[in-house]
Symmetry: C3
Subunit: 309 residues, 3 copies
Amino acid sequence: MTISPDGIVSIKHLTSMALLSNDEVIGLIKRAQAFKHQQIKPVFKRQFFVANLFFENSTRTHKSFEVAEKKLGLEVIEFDAASSSVNKGETLYDTVLTMSAIGVDVCVIRHPDEHYYQELVDSRTIQSAIVNGGDGSGQHPSQSLLDLLTIYEAFGTFQGLKIMIAGDITHSRVAKSNMQMLKRLGAELYFTGPESWYSKSFDVYGRYVALDEMIEQVDVLMLLRVQHERHDSGASFSKETYHAQYGLTHERYKWMKDTAIIMHPAPVNRGVEISSDLVEAPRSRITAQMTNGMFMRMAILEAILNGKA
Amino acid sequence: MTISPDGIVSIKHLTSMALLSNDEVIGLIKRAQAFKHQQIKPVFKRQFFVANLFFENSTRTHKSFEVAEKKLGLEVIEFDAASSSVNKGETLYDTVLTMSAIGVDVCVIRHPDEHYYQELVDSRTIQSAIVNGGDGSGQHPSQSLLDLLTIYEAFGTFQGLKIMIAGDITHSRVAKSNMQMLKRLGAELYFTGPESWYSKSFDVYGRYVALDEMIEQVDVLMLLRVQHERHDSGASFSKETYHAQYGLTHERYKWMKDTAIIMHPAPVNRGVEISSDLVEAPRSRITAQMTNGMFMRMAILEAILNGKA
Amino acid sequence: MTISPDGIVSIKHLTSMALLSNDEVIGLIKRAQAFKHQQIKPVFKRQFFVANLFFENSTRTHKSFEVAEKKLGLEVIEFDAASSSVNKGETLYDTVLTMSAIGVDVCVIRHPDEHYYQELVDSRTIQSAIVNGGDGSGQHPSQSLLDLLTIYEAFGTFQGLKIMIAGDITHSRVAKSNMQMLKRLGAELYFTGPESWYSKSFDVYGRYVALDEMIEQVDVLMLLRVQHERHDSGASFSKETYHAQYGLTHERYKWMKDTAIIMHPAPVNRGVEISSDLVEAPRSRITAQMTNGMFMRMAILEAILNGKA
């Protein structure tokens, strides 16, 4: 990964936030803002092909990548695992090798296996750039970057912001990407939610607190989705109990600072993490996050293609 | 909805035929005919995105919308519910909110819930225009409009035409849209088919008759598909019985007027509603309906985009 | 099918290799090579629509057709049987009739029924050209043509080449297309693999031999995939047994001529037909076959469109 003197970021792959420098993150944020507020259509030196390979359910990530690709004028290949040779036992490696061989320049991939991307970026035969759209309970860098854009848009800085991450932290690839990055960018982090969904390993990034202890002070409240599909056993909470103890109720909304913002990666479990009619409330940035996601993905793809012959 | 002095129709959403005036219907028909017979490619003021969200099976409606979108030069986003966050419990409202947030200008939707579109067009957050591709047993306005185009193409008018709608009327969203519109446009309506699939509420639009009583006099015979998938219990008729009593047999075909036309929204149950080798017979407009459907959908989408900033 | 004095091939449909002359095959190979090595973008006289209808799982064939279509600047309609009217009982004929009616110029089809294409090319109503992407255990002409391109690329001729086809020959549509064509083009054919997967009817094309008898002499070793999904009963071999008896082991690789090439239509069962780390070995053309497949499909589609008004 490199960044030119005029701030143009060039990336070979995007697999993990840990591989991005602070300057590169700020460079991508500024480029996404430029896409959002100016009429920019980059001109590439040739026709580029992008394939979207989603092996897990997705609406936002998948479709905002697709809109971003088409806004950039790229050729888009959709891959549907359910009607592919994956049903004949083909591995992810061989599927991506195929994409590379038939001329696909970039593969955007979501896959349930953590670090699935390692053997792909290590291959000498695979030529496609890899953009990680989520690896199991691992990373989700494009979501992290859109979250950072949304915070930067509201405050113009990360330095000294009080940011609270609430909920199912252990299962959230977003939370893990975000806590590392936000701390590195100078924010103060707080964690809240059920103790069983918290891990001591997060202590290096911030402090585990009670929601009501900090709700009046935070600048950013990042709610996490209760991921029913990643929990083995039956839920240990009813929706009502979770909402009352750990969710954003109307009462807690009133306690928040006027300048505070509410974020959620969505899909929202309405009435669980947040009261349904607060999803579109003035302090909520949940819809803005989706919009920012599309512009951030334009910036990511452009940075990848800047690194391509 | 508005219509300019030179006949250019502008529509905000297309949810129900009841909201279209006769002039707007004729305006759309004439525009579809222009697309069919002239080489017209409208130039839009910016890149527009259309998403096709089909929550029920479809070949004709879905694929003819898609061809129409691409003929108009629009960017098309396909949405596959089976691999989306719908599987994480996301509602239709939140799915469409996502589409709107990531920059989708028009959502073409088929969904099993009647009036699903109401909360979407009422939302202050959702900016996408809604085109109803079928709501449960409710409306199917683009099918209605293509049927009207097909009749207008054959006769140049609706006034005084004898039109018979035959079959599973209670389950047909097409029949309900059509009967209201055709009566308003001046046609004489007749209904036939099994009594259990007829409702007294249709009496205001036309007369329930025996098929063989009117077959020699009708100008248009609109056959409806037996919708096995919407019937709870086992069929009360065998295919052979249905065909003999209510279907278009070779014998009945011979009794029809030379100028009469046969229509069917398709997919056809060959040998049930119509004898298999009559599907492509000279009086049949079943293939023409599909072709007209694509051109009518071009006219609909253009009218929607005429209403967009 | 015709071929102009300057070698431009024009095809109405592509259903079976048997309908292509040697000159047409060589014409398509040369055109695919031109697409591969020169920057050629053909200009067509109008916007053309291609629909991909895959009723069986596919990654390579499906996606390389799609890339080829987009490289040629064609409009692509993807058809997903699982969410189509096929679920309402619609036949292949009526699905293709719909595609034709809504303006689709070419249908690329994979379907489990052998000779599915016959009623489509015989129809007077269907106007779409048919490109066979595989019919049951029948033909797979685009795979055959890419195999021929790969051999021609390596040797510049077919005359006198020793080519061995190894494995599940009876279930392989590729093998059957290839043996006819390769013999006609002057190659010497050998067959090997389990006797129960060999048929006496292949004797007219070549000789059934033991793998180890010929491995040192062959110019081309064409491995076939063990098609678990087409075998009724449980496999009669373990993976290890198959690999040891009929597969390309490291030892056999060493016995091969330096100039010999290894081919496999893929997806590969790694460790069965071929040792996993030989898939990307120097003599392997397995990745090259995929790349060639995309360029050959450009040549095929262009030849089809050359035959269209």
